[in-house]
């Protein structure tokens, strides 16, 4: 009886570790087939022969085929954070190679959220600025060097607004709209001050750190790989975020530019 109970709690802990790993990977932007693969590997290496795994972008289910045991996990925020995905992947690989045992894996998985370093905010802002300015040039193909500083400024402004608003509110739509509005206002004021030529190009550069291009592509990859539910959910999220940005910018065109 005692042994049975211990086996039961071990199974529960393995399933909890699976859910933890899957949650971290989904919340930080991995594709679904990779998430399921990692979870299945962890379960099988921990001694569960036939795990039943079902993942969606908002929740995970793990069950055992031959026992009445199921656990659930929810995912309530999805961002892009590659370092966390890579840590979970490494942990699963180390576990498969038996370089760490299950308790170490479980403890390390619980630590990933807290212990993963991020780049300092100023460096992220530099990244957003450089990406905005350079992508504006290669997308427009017009090689208009004078517009670069303003695009960098607009990109950084939008990124900062999204960063700080993202701490206050979970509503993605509002964050994106306000950030796009900030990009638009910076670009518009800059043009009024004579710092740039083409507002269209500057806006394209400025919204680049915000737009959901990777999410759109991942959603279609999920669809093609057969994860219909994930593909649709992620696609809808990407479309909503594109709508939010488009609305934010369109507000500028509707209310500021006609009176200029």
């Amino acid at each position: 009886m005692e042994i049975q109970r211990q086996v039961g709690t071990y199974m529960e802990r393995v399933m909890d570790a699976c859910i933890l790993a899957g949650r971290l990977m989904i919340a930080n932007g991995s594709e679904m087939y990779r998430v399921e693969d990692t979870m299945r590997r962890i379960a099988q290496n921990a001694g569960i022969e036939h795990p039943v795994i079902f993942t969606t972008p908002t929740g995970i289910f793990v069950g055992l085929q031959d026992r009445p045991l199921t656990s659930l996990g929810t995912v309530d925020q999805r961002v892009l954070n590659i370092e966390k995905i890579s840590r979970v992947n490494n942990l699963s690989r180390l576990f498969a190679a038996q370089q760490i045992d299950f308790d170490q894996l479980y403890a390390a998985l619980r630590d990933v959220d807290r212990a993963t370093p991020t780049f300092p905010l100023w460096l992220q802002c530099v990244g957003a600025a450089v990406a905005s300015a350079l992508l504006m040039i290669i997308f427009s193909g017009q090689y208009d060097w004078l517009d670069m500083p303003l695009a960098a400024l607009a990109g950084t402004g939008g990124y900062l607004v999204a960063y700080y608003l993202g701490r206050f509110t979970r509503v993605y739509f509002i964050t994106q709209t306000v950030a796009a509005l900030a990009v638009g206002i910076i670009a518009y004021v800059g043009i009024l001050l004579g710092l740039g030529h083409s507002i269209d190009n500057i806006l394209i550069g400025g919204v680049m750190p915000l737009v959901p291009g990777v999410a759109l592509t991942t959603s279609i990859r999920d669809l093609l790989a057969g994860d219909l539910l994930s593909g649709i959910a992620r696609g809808v999220e990407a479309i909503l975020s594109a709508v939010a940005i488009g609305v934010g910018i369109a507000l500028i065109f509707r209310f500021l530019i006609p009176w200029a």
């Binding site: 932007g29 991995s30 594709e31 990779r34 892009l80 954070n81 590659i82 370092e83 966390k84 995905i85 890579s86 992947n89 993963t116 991020t118 780049f119 460096l123 992220q124 530099v126 990244g127 957003a128 600025a129 450089v130 990406a131 350079l134 992508l135 040039i137 290669i138 997308f139 090689y143 990124y159 796009a180 394209i204 919204v207 680049m208 750190p209 737009v211 959901p212 291009g213 990777v214 759109l216 592509t217 959603s219 279609i220 990859r221 669809l223 093609l224 790989a225 990407a238 479309i239 594109a242 709508v243 940005i245 488009g246 609305v247 910018i249 369109a250 065109f253 509707r254």
Partner: protein
């Protein structure tokens, strides 16, 4: 501007833009430079094909195939999962800006332009996804080939 100068500018800018975006999405420090390279490879394949007059879809698919292969190579070389190099490397190719423009035109009332852009977003995202599929398929064939030739050698 002469075409060779354009080529150099496009290559330099796609490299640095990808590495800079990698900073924003918290890519591990020692993967930043290879991320830049995979962004450069994907974008330059697209750009060269586009300049040669191939369609948008073929150029995007070819770019995605090269990008995925480079991701696999870097993954071997740096002992990291390939996704680290693929997601930032996609950044110049993906139709994020087009998606935003589509919505903007819709809100501003130009339905025709908006529909054109929506179709373009779908086609481009789809062709990138197909490119990844092709690369994955080749990867599977290759690993199966390796395994089978290894078994062949083992046989007495």
């Amino acid at each position: 501007m002469p075409i060779w100068l354009q080529f150099i500018i496009q290559a330099l800018f796609s490299f640095f833009a990808t590495a800079a975006f990698a900073l924003c999405i918290n890519v591990p420090r020692r993967a930043l430079i290879p991320c830049g390279w995979s962004g450069l490879l994907g974008w330059m394949v697209y750009w060269v094909l586009w300049q040669l007059g191939s369609g948008r879809m073929l150029a995007n698919t070819a770019g995605a195939v090269i990008l995925a292969f480079s991701g696999v190579l870097f993954a071997r070389r740096y002992k990291m999962p390939a996704i680290i190099f693929n997601i930032p490397g996609l950044f110049p190719l993906v139709p994020g800006a087009t998606a935003y423009q589509a919505v903007r035109e819709l809100v501003l009332g130009d339905i025709d332009a908006s529909m054109r852009l929506v179709v373009r977003v779908t086609l481009v995202a789809g062709s990138i996804a197909v490119g990844f599929m092709i690369a994955q398929l080749f990867g599977e064939f290759y690993s199966r080939y390796l395994r089978s030739s290894w078994q062949f050698r083992q046989r007495p």
